[in-house]
């Protein structure tokens, strides 16, 4: 028999919520960092700067096409060779940021591509330089178009933090495993609680995205 009452004792729920907090913390920091880095990389790739754009394109494609789990291992086990030894939470943030930056770079690049080339040419003809045209004309429109894709990437990021349990990051999945590790009869209640917590956060975000999308349209 599954023991729902004891499984949902305040002590267990609080422990799960602490995990959820770490999940959110990792996700928010990583999404901000990867938005910035991803934008820069995406613009560089779009701008077709000789060599640089090609090389960055390579790196983006390679990292994008690897499982996130591998990136987590590389950051946690591989980076210390360069003298940087992150704890589990910073390691998770770093791994998520590296991975998500590449995903976002691709979204940004295709978003810019989707803005009519004529607009870029028109602004250049008006005497704006590339950076000005980018900043004032192209990017605002591109970002507007990209909002749904960016939000769904953010939702993926939140869900993907669960993989960090492999290096014992104290996030929601890890804390869930600790709770059902205590007692075999907690397993279903814990899975239900974890699923609800992830769902509430991710679904709220997707509703928000739909709302913004409608307001902007």
């Amino acid at each position: 028999m599954q023991n729902w009452i004891d499984a949902y004792s305040w002590i267990n729920i609080r422990f799960l919520l602490q995990g959820l907090w770490i999940t959110i913390l990792i996700s928010v920091i990583s999404v901000i960092l990867s938005f910035i880095i991803g934008s820069v990389l995406g613009i560089i790739r779009y701008a077709k700067i000789p060599y640089l754009s090609r090389i960055i394109g390579f790196i983006i494609d390679v990292i994008r096409n690897l499982p996130l789990l591998l990136i987590i291992f590389f950051v946690y086990f591989g980076l210390p060779a360069f003298g940087f030894k992150p704890d589990t939470i910073p390691a998770a943030i770093l791994a998520m940021t590296v991975f998500e930056s590449m995903m976002i770079a691709e979204i940004i690049r295709s978003g810019i591509n989707a803005v009519d080339i004529g607009q870029m040419e028109a602004s250049r003809a008006m005497g704006m330089n590339l950076a000005q045209a980018m900043w004032h004309i192209v990017l605002p429109q591109a970002y507007k178009k990209m909002i749904p894709a960016l939000v769904s990437q953010f939702i993926s990021l939140i869900k993907d933090t669960s993989l960090a349990t492999i290096i014992v990051v104290p996030e929601l999945m890890q804390h869930g495993q600790v709770v059902y590790g205590q007692d075999p009869n907690y397993i279903i209640p814990v899975f239900v609680a974890m699923a609800i917590m992830y769902f509430v956060v991710c679904y709220a975000l997707s509703l928000l995205s739909k709302f913004i999308d409608r307001r902007m349209a």
């Binding site: 086990f77 060779a81 589990t88 804390h175 709770v179």
Partner: protein, 275 residues
């Protein structure tokens, strides 16, 4: 065709970059870990978080608790003085050796057996606990001893030497390796395997909260647990060994054994007491 060339180019350049990075891992041996720890008054230990009685996270306060945690604290104090601190980093059987070699942690005290294979890459202190590998099965299981596991499925944990040992005793057993002990135990209960194998002391801890499951048969190996230390750190190793001897001599060790194992059914704590 052009595209194919492009892909081959990407993969080879990647290979190059990564093999270069993989070679840069030598800087640690030039540091003296004992000196660093003396300055910071802290020893950073890699410990388990999923192993009842030895190192387990307590959901009440999020603290790691167990015999190894207490022993690490005692050893730290003997090494660096009463005001020294033990810092804990949670590891799994899979992550502990990479983390030690990388220098994230100074030492491993995480149910790790001293084995010839591991001695090739890291050093060990003297043994601090004598465990033995055993199996856990359902109460009514037909499996009486490890040899019965031939043609059956047995669950172990990635990175533990139990999964390699069991193949010596039951060469035809199918082995499943899961990420940690909490998952392994849950998988056993879900019927993913016929038995779970690891050290008797870990299994005894699991059996406490899991009626219907028991340790089966005698331990079929001896598993002396050692504190894992990086190679090229003789001072640190000597300090750990000296502290370990002192902890045993002044009775702290036996007190901790009784505190954690004094009341565990199926585990005779008197066998592991030390003079």
């Amino acid at each position: 065709m052009k595209r194919l060339k492009y892909i081959v180019l990407v993969i080879t350049s990647l290979l190059l970059v990564f093999s270069l990075t993989a070679c840069g891992n030598q800087s640690l041996s030039s540091q003296n870990i004992l000196e660093n720890d003396k300055k910071s008054k802290t020893v950073t230990w890699g410990v388990k978080a999923d192993t009842k009685l030895l190192g387990l996270i307590d959901v009440k306060d999020g603290q790691d608790k167990g015999f190894e945690i207490d022993l690490a604290k005692a050893i730290t104090k003997k090494m660096l003085g009463k005001d020294a601190k033990a810092k804990f980093v949670t590891v799994t059987s899979q992550s502990r050796i990479p983390l030690l070699k990388n220098g994230n942690i100074d030492a491993i005290i995480a149910t790790m057996t001293i084995t010839p294979d591991r001695l090739k890459t890291i050093d060990f202190s003297d043994s601090y606990f004598d465990a033995g590998q055993s199996i856990m099965v359902k109460d009514n299981s037909p499996i009486k001893k490890v040899q019965d596991l031939n043609n059956r499925t047995i669950i172990g944990v990635v990175g533990s030497n139990s999964v390699q040992n069991v193949k010596k005793f039951a060469p035809k057993a199918r082995v499943l390796q899961l990420p940690d002990y909490a998952q392994a135990l849950t998988a056993l209960k879900s019927g993913q395997g016929d038995a779970l194998t690891t050290d008797n002391v870990i299994l005894a801890g699991m059996a406490v909260k899991n009626p219907g499951y028991k340790l089966q048969g005698k331990a079929f190996t001896t598993e002396p647990y050692g504190i894992g230390i990086n190679k090229g750190q003789p001072e640190f190793k000597a300090a750990v060994n000296k502290a370990l001897k002192e902890v045993q001599a002044d009775g702290t060790y036996n007190k901790l054994i009784i505190k954690w194992f004094g009341n565990v059914p199926g585990f005779n704590y008197k066998e592991v007491l030390r003079k």
